[in-house]
Symmetry: C2
Subunit: 220 residues, 2 copies
Amino acid sequence: MAQDGRTRQQRAVATRAAIIDAAAGEFDEHGYLGTSMDAVAERAGLTKGALYFHFTSKADLAGAVIARQHEVSRQYGEAAATRGTTPLEVLMWMSQGLASQMIHEVVVSAGIRLSTDTAAAGVARRNPYTDWMQVAAELVRQGIEAGEIDSAWDPQLIGRVVVPAYTGAQTVSDVLADRADLYDRLRELWTVLLAAIVTDRMRPEIPRLVALIAPLATED
Amino acid sequence: MAQDGRTRQQRAVATRAAIIDAAAGEFDEHGYLGTSMDAVAERAGLTKGALYFHFTSKADLAGAVIARQHEVSRQYGEAAATRGTTPLEVLMWMSQGLASQMIHEVVVSAGIRLSTDTAAAGVARRNPYTDWMQVAAELVRQGIEAGEIDSAWDPQLIGRVVVPAYTGAQTVSDVLADRADLYDRLRELWTVLLAAIVTDRMRPEIPRLVALIAPLATED
């Protein structure tokens, strides 16, 4: 009995994950308004009844895609953190990781698109922005402690500036070049942002730091 | 005869403008996918046939809203240019003007929303970004000449960074605060961007410059 119960629960978890993947594909291709519950059910190979058992509305589903995207991004962020040996390196690796994921992971691409989609105004989507602002602010705080970032800066202010600037770089890269120049745009953005915030001893390091924002050798 | 002809043409121009206004209202409220030609015709008080006489598709209409928004923004930009007495002041006044328009002019709000709407991928919308990058780059070039901006910077690079950063600030302000904090976000953004690019003699002027980005006394 207990094992049956667990198996059923595991199956439900797997179905839920498959639905989120299918929904991500639809949202990524057709935007929020262009996606229907019918299309998601069909893509996931489920009846509409089975879909509604897991998600009661499209807004609910979009919220789950954004939450999943944020979870995937956070995991990658933690992995990125282990690549960097200083706060600024970690910040660069996180930028690299987010860009890489945006290009390669449909759930990330879909989550980011939903997060900037006017039509998705009713969807829960504020947390990713405010969470990343906190992450960036914390790294800036560490950067100040490590003597990499000028202590005159308020870490919270830098967090509030960096996250929207990053968001805009990916939006404009999407509109102008289908994200083909995303790494270039991010390296240019960080070249300017770092020039504003680093201490004099870190200034010569800016080209080395921004060069970390590039496709990994393992990427196509 | 000639006079009749002109009258008919003037009427056509007025109808076209009324359609663009109606479309802007619909796009602003419902996004690209959520807007129908029927709703635009109804809002403009026209038959669908009359609407199609002027615009052959929704993408055509969205392109016209973006073009009109860009025209309005450029006009305001030129007016803003006359308020500033130095290149950096002009850059700040332009930022103020764009923010003010985004809040007060439906066609601008709608145009910007269409310009960042994933669902509007088929719509002509690259020009506003590339045009503003050129405008910003030209002001940076003038700022270098005037000794306000460090000559080590490539004006084109700064243009490519500033415009997406500005775009992202408005997107995030829209998502997090319905644009209520747009001026605050822009002042913070420029505090960082100016710190990166100004010459040492202009550094003490940064607070005065960013303070120009605020609601005008004539605004509500």
